[in-house]
């Protein structure tokens, strides 16, 4: 009898463990950032539409900010744009855009047409700063705290729910 029962018990136990693992993984298909808790990578990039000006990590020293990686070729960026505008209107935190592998005229036209939620927009034409941040697909949104550490990364479209659940508590310092 046991020779039939034992394999079934083992199978059910294994299936149960795998099922729980799949069900409990909160962000399916997205990977945690390798940078969490570590200092944000340094960057010094041209400011979009402002010849001669730059956007640098150093200028945010001592101030928390949100970095949103976007591009005009990115469909989900269009989807999240209204959410970013709503977030910007609350003035909860400095919002920095990283225009990723994009063309300046198109990016400027996009911001003109749909509104500009960003306090600063950095141009990462070759995608090198994005590689330093471990970006693997736009849009991605990072929160960097006042000490310059990356506390959170959201991959994919920003939604009001994600903003409320993951970003606001970290901006207020009640969640790490």
């Amino acid at each position: 009898m046991t020779r039939f029962v034992l394999p079934i018990v083992v199978f059910v136990a294994l299936a149960g463990v795998l099922f729980l693992g799949v069900r409990n993984s909160t962000n399916k298909g997205t990977m945690p950032s390798a940078l969490l808790g570590k200092p944000a990578p340094n960057f010094e990039l041209p400011a979009l539409g402002k010849p001669g000006e730059t956007v640098t990590l150093a200028q945010f020293a001592g101030k928390p900010f949100v970095l949103n990686v976007w591009a005009t070729w990115c469909v989900a960026c269009r989807e999240e744009h209204q959410t970013l505008l709503d977030i910007a209107s609350t003035k909860a935190v400095t919002l920095v855009g990283l225009d990723y592998k994009d063309k300046d005229p198109e990016a400027l036209e996009w911001l003109q047409q749909f509104g500009n939620p960003y306090d600063h927009v950095a141009v990462d034409a070759e995608g090198r700063t994005a590689i330093d941040f471990g970006v693997y697909g736009a849009p991605e949104t990072y929160f960097i705290d006042a000490s310059g550490r990356v506390l959170y990364r959201h991959v994919g479209e920003m939604t009001p729910e994600v903003w409320r659940r993951e970003f606001i508590p970290r901006i207020k310092g009640t969640k790490r």
Binding site: M31, S33, A34, L35, R128, I131, G134, G137
Partner: protein, 144 residues
């Protein structure tokens, strides 16, 4: 024979586009070999079941450029791997390193092999005992 030739041509047709993805040429054959080795063991993060050598994705192209530049600048293979892991995590390596979070990945085949050997050993021993102590059925079959 014609059929075989047709099949080979079909296969060549499938394989050809793969050669067109990466046309990077490094200054010398030694660097080229290391470049090809590295790009085949780094995961394309956009299309996770492919390596960056065989992927036309934008990020894969950028990462190939980084690998080529680092090798040309005289960096070692391990420095290139460390650069990638620092940014994307261990997941970018198709050969995961042995550490506390990956120990089961490496241990499972060994556990399964040892477990299988134990099961096989027990079964063989039991069967061996059966034959040695009870041959009555064999004699019945032989009887006319």
């Amino acid at each position: 024979m014609n059929l075989l030739r047709a099949a080979l041509l079909c296969l060549a047709g499938i394989a050809l586009p793969a050669f067109a993805i990466d046309t990077t040429v490094l200054p010398n054959p030694e660097l080229q070999a290391r470049y090809e080795n590295l790009t085949h063991e780094l995961r394309c993060m956009q299309c996770q079941n492919n390596n960056i050598a065989d992927s036309p994705a934008g990020l894969a192209t950028d990462l190939r450029r980084e690998v080529a530049e680092m090798l040309t600048a005289g960096k070692s293979d391990d420095e290139v791997r460390a650069y990638m892991v620092q940014r994307y995590g261990d997941v970018i390596l198709f050969n995961p390193p042995l550490n506390s979070s990956t120990v089961w990945v490496w241990a499972t085949p060994l556990v399964a092999l040892v477990g299988g050997l134990i099961v096989a050993f027990v079964i063989v021993r039991r069967r061996g005992r059966l034959v040695a102590t009870d041959d009555s059925e064999v004699r019945d079959d032989l009887a006319p």
